[in-house]
Symmetry: C2
Subunit: 605 residues, 2 copies
């Protein structure tokens, strides 16, 4: 490739290819962190309708950590209730039961939000733009090359990725060479980045063919505003209510509906939105469903269940989102898995770029997210099979029973909600002291709970004090500071943590409160404690001291130590990663293990 | 006055004079309702710092009803806890107790929000601007005249108010004559409108002189982020924590600090922010308080306690806010009373302008708000006296005891929070059937409570379904619709309410859902009820049916019928006014009294 012929050349720290959910999550996180980042997309405009639309409970927590959940909750629909319909003895379908849509007891937002992908992406685009980053489009990448120099690859300040791209509206000569420290390929299921780097997708395509229609329905179906799994003897449907009065239907199709017998391939021209709706109408009987409006969006798909063999090349080029995993949309995981991929990656890139962490930190991205993607495919296989299977009836005793389906729906709830995502031990998750905070599982997200601020008794969910601001949060559960022995232990801990040998100074790069945010949480009551009672390191601002107590009106709060499995007398140290996952928990007398934790991936200035 | 010499002339439905809290609340409410409104202010720019800053619990509910509370809560500080300091036996002060800042158990937001007046006004200005209304400034009104023609005054379509004003940046010849249907004088304590119309202020000035400073303090005082009443033997102070790290101090002054002995008047030049702080420092001992930053704002004031003798002239010109009541700022009532004045007035003007109600409806503004203002002054007299009094000590047995002060603080809580505001019976508050919803007091604001939507089990605070959208809300508590006798009663009620004789048709102006919003609330459980079970009038959209049940996770909701004192079997009808106050409650078999209610002030098309 004659790249020397091209005039324009530039350098950037991170180049993101693709402005879908994974790309915009990444770009926004990096923009908020002040990283030198660009994002390009080959589509001329953002998505207007259709596509993915479900935001899971954990993803809402993640959006909230970037200050973006408020708008999502204002614009989106909430699914709280699920309903299950099965063949009725008198023909047609009937409701078998209703159940909570989310079965993850610790979810802060115990529901799913549905909103079309364009509106969700707009939340990120507006936030990025407030931080000075906009998507450059339409820009088509045409060439990528990774340096072969080991020296360059090991130098965090080098720009070992060369990428050529072009603006299709310009002449070829106006294309650009970008030298990047890091490239993130968030360019979808047909990822150009993945193919260019020769990364294979492992897995296979299923036989399940589904259609999707978005519309405002006219119906007498009483659960049209719930998530519904409809299993009839005339096919299966899934209902996903959306923003406003919109409803999405997933409709199971048979080969004869859509497959061209000559080629054996899906022929979209054999199907249309009216035909799709006609298929759905058969499974809804005796209920009527139609629309007096337009079909907002429709598509067909065959479920593929694949995971990329690698998520990164030399920790310089990464792939994320649909580029590294494809699966069925019906469990509403796609957009969530994608966003959480780059939520996991962005802080790691930032730390490396700032010189706070070694390049090796970036290995944990593939380690954590590929394992998750594999779990997701395993789940999807089981769920798709159950969902696409025929219902068990008098005449079909081999079919899927309602109990079996509901059981799976609820068992999988912790996984599908995103709440149960668990990262295995690595450089950034050390679980040797798990017992001192027995229910704050290392490798899982910090459990939300309401505490009150000592200075003003204002209640806060602790998650709101753990924003995605790239800092590690050091939560010092100081125990019962009214007890003088404990008060002395707290003083000693503050001295030790503030000392030269401690991670706080060692990796503080001269201004430790930029790298670490210390919060202290006492088990004592608001009537008795002054925030001024704590040592200065543990109250660097009046807002940094919390109490495990109710608010003034006993409406919220209290019981946090018990919920977290932390001893109310002696407390514990809890380190929360910048992405909100617990990194290590330790008793006061094992601060050295917290030092070791940071030693294992952080860099000194 | 030679008005004939002026060239520019215009007509407007409502002209608001003054863009303080009362003015912008009024302008925004009218703008949202699509009323032809203008608002002028003589100040060249909006307030940047200082001034009033406390938003009471009821006012937060009101802002929420206009969709404005989210931003207020994001930007403002919250006061949850109050602390009381009194003379210590060892000299100086000590904390006597902490208590909830708000003592109004039904408050939806059980705290006060503090934020500087400019930021609060900006919330309204941005909302108004989104509805196409901006403040015209600087514009100085110079002449006002009300028509003497009874015919004109009684014609709702006439423009009987003539007002001349001018843009001081233009030549006199460029001033304008505005003919208005209605004028609202929200032009402050020295109201030009009030004076021009010769309305007197009844009441007197007190002897209490106070200073105010806003600053970011350096202090070891442990309750600096709480509302504090500090009574020392060296004077009294009140602490109001503000947004960010700002704190406001109210400091009691003695005559010798500020009064010019020659004239007997307050001489602001004798005092300055440093001197004020020095007075405060004496009462804080043994705690230290100072600032390393700037004094953000300061002022001095003498409490005047006065109410205007009239709030309106012929229901064509109204005065609102500080123009009709002045009192001490320390109970944080000023801005709240002002905003609630025009919140009360705006929907009434709208209804009259739309031809939905008779002009007589406007009489209820003075009736309701003047009574409230008088109650406010009565409260203020008691509270100021207690606050400004010397504390009771060994040496001063006549002083105010802590118990006396705390008791008053809590007794007055219902009033100061705004939650207890009670409008007496009038054309728009009929209380003859109070017993059928015994705790939804007619003339008080609708009590917040969480219900779940039948269609999707999403929980909603009922207040969020009662927005300030100018419609009367008809809440049909349909009782236990699973019971067939009750289901029949509900059907009959729907027939009767939908009939030609009913208020719904009679005053519906051809499109009753524009005037009335019907919500139905069943006492049955979410597992059992379909929203489709109700008669169409009571479920005009799937979102209009609620259940008195918990959400799917039993975190919120349930017990609403009991809380409202409504029979779970038989239900009741509750009419909520457009401003969120209960207008009438009635049993199903007294729909005729609901008809009579609307007959007493509404107009047929």
């Amino acid at each position: 490739m004659p790249i020397a012929a091209v005039a324009k050349e530039s350098e950037v720290d991170v180049l993101i290819i693709g402005a879908g959910p994974a790309g915009v999550m990444c770009a926004n996180a990096l923009a908020m962190a002040g990283v030198n980042v660009r994002i390009i997309d080959q589509r001329p405009a953002k998505v207007a309708a259709g596509q993915a639309d479900g935001i899971q409970p954990r993803t809402i927590e993640v959006l909230q950590s970037y200050g973006l959940a408020e708008r999502l909750l204002r614009e989106g629909n909430q699914m709280h209730m699920a309903a299950f319909y099965n063949p009725s003895p008198s023909g047609g379908i009937e409701r078998t039961s209703r159940a909570p849509d989310v079965t993850a007891p610790s979810a802060r937002y115990p529901f799913e939000v549905t909103l079309h992908q364009g509106a969700i992406e707009a939340i990120f685009l507006d936030s990025m733009s407030a931080h000075g980053v906009i998507v450059e489009r339409p820009i088509v990448p045409t060439y990528i090359e990774l340096s072969q120099s080991e020296e360059e690859l090991k130098d965090p300040n080098a720009h070992p990725v060369i990428l050529k791209h072009l603006d299709p509206s310009e002449r070829e000569g106006d294309s650009e060479i970008v030298k990047a420290k890091f490239v993130v390929g968030a360019d979808g299921a047909h990822s150009w980045v993945r193919k260019s780097l020769g990364i294979s997708m492992d897995g296979e395509q299923t036989d399940y063919i589904w259609g999707v229609v978005d519309m405002v329905p006219d119906t007498d179906f009483p659960d049209i505003r719930c998530k519904c799994a409809v299993h009839s003897n005339n096919g299966s449907c899934m209902i996903i209510p959306r923003e406003g009065d919109l409803v999405r239907l997933y409709i199971q199709l048979s080969d004869r509906d859509v497959v061209d017998p000559a080629t054996g391939r899906v022929d979209k021209s054999k199907m249309g939105p009216e035909k799709l709706l006609a298929v759905a109408q058969k499974s809804f009987k005796p209920f009527e469903i139609s629309t007096s409006g337009q079909i907002d969006w429709w598509t067909l798909y065959i479920i593929g269940q694949r995971v990329a063999s690698k998520f990164s090349v030399r920790e310089r080029v990464f792939i994320a989102g649909d580029a590294c995993h494809t699966h069925s949309p019906k469990a509403g995981q796609g957009m969530n898995a994608s966003m959480n991929d780059t939520h996991n990656l962005a802080w790691k890139l930032t730390h490396v770029l700032r010189g706070w962490s070694d390049l090796s930190l970036l290995q944990t991205y593939e380690f954590e997210r590929r394992k998750y993607a594999q779990d997701l495919i395993d789940f999807d296989k089981k769920f798709s099979k159950l969902f696409s299977g025929k219902p068990r009836t008098q005449d079909n005793q081999d079919g899927v029973s309602h109990e079996e389906f509901l059981g799976a729906f609820q068992t999988f709830g912790l996984f599908t909600s995103g709440i149960g995502v668990h990262y295995e031990p690595s450089a950034i998750t050390h679980n040797q002291h798990q017992s001192c905070a027995s229910t704050l599982i290392v490798g899982e997200r910090m459990v939300p709970h309401v505490f009150v601020r000592a200075a003003d008794a204002r209640p806060y969910d602790i998650q709101d004090l753990l924003p995605s601001d790239t800092r590690f949060k050091i939560l010092v559960f100081v125990g019962d500071v009214a007890n003088t022995t404990q008060a002395e232990r707290v003083l000693r801990l503050a001295e030790e943590m503030g000392g030269q040998e401690s991670f706080y100074r060692k990796f503080g790069h001269g201004n430790p409160s930029k790298v670490f945010d210390i919060l202290s949480i006492a088990s004592a009551k608001k009537q008795d404690v002054n925030y001024t009672d704590l040592p200065p390191l543990f109250r660097q601002h009046w807002s940094k001291v919390l109490l495990d107590d109710t608010d003034m009106y006993s409406r919220v709060g209290g019981g946090g130590y018990a919920r977290y499995g932390i001893d109310q007398q002696h407390g514990a140290i809890v380190v929360v990663r910048p992405d909100g996952y617990v990194g290590i928990v330790a008793p006061f007398d094992h601060l050295k293990d917290v030092n070791t934790y940071f030693d294992s991936f952080m860099a000194q200035s």
